[in-house]
Symmetry: C2
Subunit: 408 residues, 2 copies
C-alpha cells in the first residue's frame, strides 16, 4: 500500500542538503538583540583587549629579576616608588630595585614585567617593601592583546551568538553586528477534520489544529519566522493555491497532515506537479511518510499528520533546512545524554526509532523511562524530557541497556 521506498535518515538529510543553496541576506542588530542569531561574516577585532598590560592581582609591579631567590627567611627588599591609579597611565617608571603599588586591573608601569601579589609582601616602612616569594616575568599580569588581538577573528561566520560573545563584542567596541536574516517559514495544516483552536466548540469528528502551533514554535526556537497560513482543505485546488501563496511569501513551506493514503497521494501529486519530489519515505519511526519537494527553488516539506510524527520529523528535516538557510555552523559533537532504559523496547526494525523518555538521575546514573503511547498522542511529548534513539541496525534495547537521548 506504500507507493514509495523509504530511505535511511542520513541519506535523506544528504539529499536535502544537496538541493538547498539559498543564501540569506544580512541585517544589522544591536548586540543586546543578537542572542541566538547567526553571525553573517567573520567578526574581526578592531583593537587589542586589553589595550595595555595590566595587573590581574593586587600587589606591586616589579622587575622579576629583583625578586629572584626571595624567600620568607631571605626576602628581597625594594623601594616603593609610588602607586598606580586605576584607569590612568602611571607616571612612574619601575627602575631596578624599585616597585610600584598596583590594584587589580591597573596599568603596568614602564619598566615592570610582573606583579608580586600583596599576600607575598610585607611593608617594612612607607617606602620599603619586603618580598617573600619570587615572581617570573609575566606573573600576575595580562599583556596587551593577550585576550583578543587586533585583526584576529573574534567570532566565526555561522556561529550562533551566546552571552559571552555579546560581552566580547562590547569589549572590542562593537554594539552592532551583522546577522543572517531570519528565514520565513509558511506553515499549512491540512485535513478536513482539523479546525482552529479558537473555535468555541468542537463538533464530533473534529479536532483542533495542534501541528501548526508545535511547528511554529519549533521554527521560532530555531531562529526562523513562522508564518501560519491556517487550515487548508484536502483538495488539489485548495492545496495548489495555498502553496502558491506560501511560496511567494516565504523561504520554505511546511505542510502537515494527510496521514491517510488518499491525502498523501494528493500531496505527492500536487508537489510533483508544481516541482520535484526529492524525498518520499524515510526509515524513521514515527514519520516514515515524510515527503520533501523543491518547488521554484524552495523546499516544501510535508510532514505526517499525527502530532508526534509531525514534531519528530520537523526536528529532523525543518531544523536541517533552517540550519542550511542560516549557514549555522554545526557542532563538533552531538548533544546527547547516555541513559539506561527502564524497560525493554522493541525496535521498529530497519528504521531509526524515536521514543519519548522522561529522565531521572539515580546516583551518577541517568535513567530513561519510556513514555508509551500512540504517535497521535501529543501528551507523550509533554511528559517526555527528550527522545531516546534506537538506531536502525539495532533490534531493540533490553531493560537496563544504554540509549542515547537527545533533549528537547
Amino acid at each position: 500500500m506504500e507507493f514509495f521506498d523509504a530511505i535511511p535518515l542520513e541519506e535523506a538529510l544528504k539529499r536535502l542538503n544537496r538541493v538547498i543553496n539559498l543564501r540569506l541576506e544580512y541585517e544589522k542588530v544591536h548586540i543586546m538583540e543578537s542572542l541566538g542569531r547567526v553571525v553573517y561574516e567573520d567578526v574581526i577585532s578592531p583593537e587589542d583587549v586589553p589595550g595595555f598590560s595590566r595587573a590581574t592581582m593586587d600587589g606591586y609591579a616589579v622587575r622579576a629579576r629583583d625578586t629572584y631567590g626571595a624567600s620568607e627567611s631571605l626576602p628581597a627588599i625594594i623601594s616603593i616608588a609610588g602607586e598606580v591609579v586605576m584607569g590612568k597611565v602611571p607616571e612612574i617608571q619601575v627602575k631596578p630595585g624599585s616597585g610600584v603599588k598596583i590594584p587589580t586591573g591597573g596599568m603596568l608601569p614602564e619598566g615592570a614585567d610582573s606583579v608580586v601579589m600583596i599576600e607575598h609582601t610585607e611593608l617594612l616602612d612607607k617606602n620599603t617593601l619586603s618580598i617573600l616569594k619570587p615572581v617570573s616575568p609575566g606573573d600576575n599580569i595580562i599583556e596587551k592583546g593577550e585576550d583578543i588581538k587586533q585583526g584576529e577573528v573574534l567570532i566565526g561566520k555561522g556561529s550562533a551568538i551566546r552571552p559571552q560573545d555579546i560581552g566580547a563584542l562590547a569589549g572590542v567596541g562593537y554594539t552592532e553586528i551583522k546577522v543572517v536574516k531570519k528565514p520565513v517559514v509558511s506553515i499549512i495544516s491540512t485535513g478536513d477534520e482539523i479546525i482552529e483552536p479558537t473555535a468555541p466548540k468542537l463538533e464530533p469528528g473534529q479536532i483542533r489544529d495542534i501541528n501548526s502551533y508545535t511547528i511554529g514554535a519549533l521554527v521560532k526556537e530555531w531562529g526562523g519566522i513562522p508564518r501560519p497560513l491556517g487550515i487548508v482543505e484536502d483538495t488539489r485546488e485548495q492545496l495548489v493555491s495555498a502553496l502558491e501563496e506560501a511560496l511567494e511569501k516565504s523561504h520554505c513551506v511546511v505542510l502537515s497532515g494527510g496521514s491517510s493514503v488518499g491525502t498523501r497521494d494528493l500531496t505527492q501529486q500536487v508537489v510533483s506537479g508544481m516541482g520535484e519530489v526529492i524525498l518520499h519515505g524515510v526509515s524513521v519511526k514515527p514519520g516514515k511518510p515524510t515527503l520533501v519537494g523543491i518547488v521554484r527553488g524552495r523546499p516544501v516539506i510535508c510532514l505526517p499528520g499525527h502530532p508526534v510524527s509531525a514534531m519528530i520529523t520537523c526536528r529532523l528535516f525543518v531544523k536541517a533546512v533552517l540550519d542550511r538557510f542560516l549557514g549555522r555552523a554545526q557542532k563538533d559533537f552531538s548533544v546527547k545524554l547516555s541513559a539506561h532504559i527502564m524497560r525493554n523496547l522493541a525496535s521498529a526494525g530497519g528504521r531509526t526509532h524515536y521514543i519519548g523518555v522522561k529522565l531521572k538521575s539515580e546516583g551518577d546514573k541517568l535513567m530513561a523511562i519510556p513514555i508509551m503511547g500512540k504517535s497521535s498522542m501529543i501528551s507523550t511529548m509533554i511528559k517526555a524530557d527528550g527522545l531516546a534513539i534506537i538506531p536502525q541496525e539495532k533490534e531493540g534495547v533490553e531493560k537496563g541497556g544504554k540509549v542515547e537521548v537527545c533533549l528537547f
Copy 2:
C-alpha cells in the same frame, strides 16, 4: 588578606534559596509568544483530546470479535456497510458481521471497537471484505480522551513552555496562557577603568565594559529583563545612589567589578550598610569573592570583575535567583555531558573548579580540550563549548580521565 571565609557552593545556594521568597505576578500572553516562559498555575484541560474515538490507520472499522481466528488461509468475511467521511459524524452503525471503511483520523462509527488496517484486507467485491488478520478491541484506534482527559493537568505550574506544550495548548483550545511576569534585573558595572563600548577611542589604562553585556544576555536567556544602569564610579556615594535607584526599579541587582581588595571592601561596606550580607566568599574557582546581600527584600549580587569569573558566578547565582523568582521547576536530572579530558588538570584545592572546554566527538567518545587562559580572558569562553567541573573534593584530573561538562 581575605576578610571572609569561603563556603561550599551547595551551602551558598541553599542560603540564597532560603532568603528569596518573592513571588512574581502573572501576565497573559498568546501561546505563540509563550515559548520559554514559565507557567503561572497548573493548566487544566477543558476538553478531551480527541473528543471522539478515531482511527489511527486507514482501514475498516469493525467489531474485533468478527475477526477472531482470521488468517490468510482462512479469512474472516464481512459486508461493507459504507464509508466514514473525514470530519463528519458517521451515520452508519457497525452491526455484527459488517464493517465500515475509515480513513486515518476518521470518527469511529457506533458499534465498532477497532480498525483493521487496509493492508490486512482484500476486497472481494464492492460490498464484501476479506480480513486476513485478527484485531483486538482498541487496535488502530485512539479513544476519546486517550491523549488528554478533560480536567487533567496538561502542563504543570512552573514548567518552562516548549513547542509541544504550545501544540497541546492549541489542541485543547487555549490560545492564551498565564505566565509568570519577567523579573527585572538591574545591572551595574563598577571600576574607574571601565568605559562604555560606544566610546570612540580608548585611553591607555581604560577597558570597555564586557560584564554588563555578558550578564545582560544571560539574564535574557534565563527569562529576565536586563536593565543596564551603566558604569558607576568606585565611590561609596556613587555606589549607594546607583543601588538606591536599582532597588526601586527592579527585582534584583547584579553588580560586577571590584576585583581589587579596596573595591571589594567598599562594596561589602555599602551592601552591609544598606541591608544584610548573607554570603561573602564561595569555594569556587574562578569566582571566590562573590558577595550576596539582601537589601529591602531584594537580592544584591556582587560578582567579581574578571569577565570569566563574572560569567561563571552569574551562571551559578543569578540563574538560581531567577529560577526562584519565576518558580521555575527544576529538572529531575542534570544536563551534563561526560567527556574525557585531553590534558592533566590541576584542581583548585578545596574549591569547585570550572574550566572552559572545547568538545569533540571521537567515535562514540566525547573529548574535552581545556581552553587555558586567565580568568580575565573572555576569549577563553568564546572558544569553549561548555565548562568542565572538577568537584571540590577532587585533586585534579589526569589526561584521559572523565569530567562532567555543562554546556553553554
